[in-house]
């Protein structure tokens, strides 16, 4: 099976966000594989181990994204592709990303493409379903289980807490939700092997695209931090009194009861 994973490098979830010169400060930030994409990498490896084939991890990013690709290779992916837009693109949105991926996939004959259902930074959740539409693949979002049998796939997906059981067929793009699996940590031999696995680097020019083709449809005009939440009132006294006071405060002061 020809399996692809869409991967994004994101800030570590531990990172606090600061803004300087109107941009998110990234100096000294720690990066990880977007956690939902990690589920995708794990599931891709499991599908390959069960059905054979090859797992290729694809990212759009910059030179530094190689680190997250190597991590995915160390987990067990076979090949990686870095589409480096550092020199070509100043701005992009989901339209841009999907335009590039569409060009990349044009000659690929993917059986399954796995992606995270959302990235924890920009959190649009658009790239997976947008790409499926461009590639004419069926698409199932927020999956928590997948069984592939020949051309058929049986999937469970999370729909706002309910479980929907879906049957569909390959070629297929799925987006992964928490609960799908428990991503493995790369093993030491895995890390050693990853250094020798193929990592191809492309630029948009290699995909016959130029800047105008991928011009974004949206623009960020301002980034700001939410007002810092002030610590409130910690109640005192016997529990019974605290509870009475709380209910009264919620009713009269906060007006939420």
């Amino acid at each position: 099976m020809n399996i692809y994973v869409l991967l994004k490098r994101t800030f570590d979830t531990e990172e606090k966000i600061a803004i300087s010169n109107g941009r998110i400060e990234d100096d000294g930030a720690e990066y990880i594989i977007n956690p939902y994409d990690e589920y995708a990498v794990e599931e891709a490896i499991n599908l390959r181990d069960e059905h054979g084939g090859e797992v290729t991890v694809v990212t759009i990013g910059e030179e530094d994204s190689e680190k997250q690709l190597r991590t995915a290779l160390a987990m067990g992916a076979d090949k990686a592709v870095l589409i480096n837009t550092e020199d070509d693109l100043e701005e992009g949105d989901q339209f841009t990303t999907v335009k590039i991926l569409e060009a990349f996939f044009e000659d690929k004959e993917a059986d399954i493409v796995l992606a995270g259902n959302v990235a924890i930074d920009e959190a649009s959740g658009q790239v997976g379903p947008r790409l499926a539409e461009r590639l004419g693949m069926s698409c199932v979002t927020t999956i928590t289980s997948i069984k592939v049998d020949g051309e058929k796939a049986n999937i469970e997906r999370d729909v706002e807490g309910d479980v929907e059981k879906v049957e569909t067929s390959l070629p297929l793009l799925v987006t992964c939700q928490q609960g799908l699996n428990e991503p493995r940590y790369p093993s030491l031999p895995g890390i050693m092997k990853a250094k020798k696995k193929p990592l191809e680097e492309l630029e948009i020019d290699d995909l016959d695209l130029d800047e105008d083709d991928v011009e974004p449809k949206t623009k960020t005009i301002e980034i700001f931090l939410p007002p810092e939440k002030q610590a409130g009132k910690v109640l005192e006294g016997e529990t019974d009194d605290q509870v009475k006071e709380l209910v009264s405060l919620l009713k009269t002061e906060a007006k939420v009861l």
């Binding site: 606090k16 947008r130 807490g161 309910d162 980034i223 409130g232 709380l246 939420v256």
Partner: protein, 326 residues
């Protein structure tokens, strides 16, 4: 510049979701005096639901009824909505950022080769441009965004943009459109309901959330009672999910759901940065924790230092008492 704006409505168990009315209010801002047109897909007679959209501010509503649209599939709904888009040629589209909205709108935007701003919490018209505010990094920061080319297409986060007043004096045409639905590639075989009374976390007005301090699956019982008496729903921290006390679908935080209810009651949750990202924009936060140093108290409006198994049942009784007195 006035625009024609389409609102994709969403019904759940026979009634419209609140976010549909909020979407009409957002569309009203985007349309800037233009026309707000509703579209509603489903099976059976949808005219009463269409009428309801009119009472909340849609100037006309197009319903598409077909047995194939009884449950949502992206292929079926995309086909139906695309036909309405082709008929109406809207200059804007607004929908709720719900499970259906998240699944459907990127596919429509991709087909239309348009931009899409997801999960907006605020919409304002600023000097001829429509500016959307949306959380990034799970609410650790926000960005203001606008569409630079083509269709003004956005999804809005439930519970953030106030809907317009319901007004039965409002009139508008509700018309049914026939659409033949073909080529549905995904077949829904079964839906297992797990969420309590169909109240989704992202739309809940009140959330009672449990963390590691809940100690077991049974430990969620008093939290369920509290949620019930408040008409809310139960959520959890990653700690509680990882420990197996509850399902991952309840997880609130940077991985998991990001929620903004009117009232968030955190029980036995320490307040890791990832959890705070998912809930700190709630309107009122109550923290109940044994540890007075717990980080959750730094974002709480009201805190009780104490054992949740002591405090929560007393809180349930007190609220019940309050309701009796009222």
């Amino acid at each position: 510049m006035s625009k024609k704006v389409l609102v994709i409505g969403e019904a759940r168990e026979g009634s419209l979701r609140n976010v549909t009315f909020e979407a009409i209010a957002a569309a009203n801002i985007v349309s800037d005096g233009g026309e707000v047109v509703g579209v509603l897909c489903g099976d059976g007679d949808l005219s009463a639901l269409g009428q309801e959209m009119v009472y909340y501010g849609a100037e006309k509503v197009i319903t598409v009824s077909n047995p194939e649209l009884k449950t949502y599939t992206s292929d079926g709904y995309a086909q139906a909505v695309m036909e309405v888009i082709n008929d109406e040629s809207p200059e804007g589209i607004i929908m709720g950022h719900t499970a259906v909205g998240k699944d459907l709108t990127p596919k429509l935007a991709s087909r239309l080769e348009s931009g899409l701003i997801s999960d907006a919490t605020e919409v304002v018209a600023e000097g001829g441009n429509i500016v959307f505010t949306r959380p990034i990094y799970s609410g650790k920061a926000f960005e203001k965004k606008e569409i630079t080319d083509g269709l003004v297409f956005a999804t809005i986060r439930p519970n953030n943009i106030p809907s317009l007043e319901r007004d039965e004096a409002l009139t508008g045409q509700v018309t049914e459109k026939e659409v033949s639905i073909t080529n549905i590639r995904t077949i829904i075989q079964d839906v297992i309901r797990k969420s309590s009374d169909g109240v989704d976390l992202s739309e809940a007005k009140v959330i009672v959330a449990g963390g590691r301090g809940v100690k077991s699956a049974e430990g969620f019982e008093p939290l369920n009672d509290l949620a019930e008496v408040l008409g809310g729903t139960v959520g959890a921290s990653r700690g509680a999910c990882d420990a197996g006390y509850c399902d991952y679908s309840l997880q609130i935080g940077q991985t998991g759901k990001v929620v903004t209810p009117d009232l968030y009651i955190a029980c036995g949750i320490s307040g890791a940065i990832q959890h705070l990202a998912g809930m700190s924009n709630s309107k009122v936060i109550v923290a109940i924790n044994k540890d007075p140093e717990a980080n959750i108290f730094n974002v709480a409006d009201y805190g009780i230092v104490g054992d949740l198994f002591d405090v929560v049942p007393k809180l349930v009784d007190e609220i019940k008492q309050m309701k009796v007195n009222a």
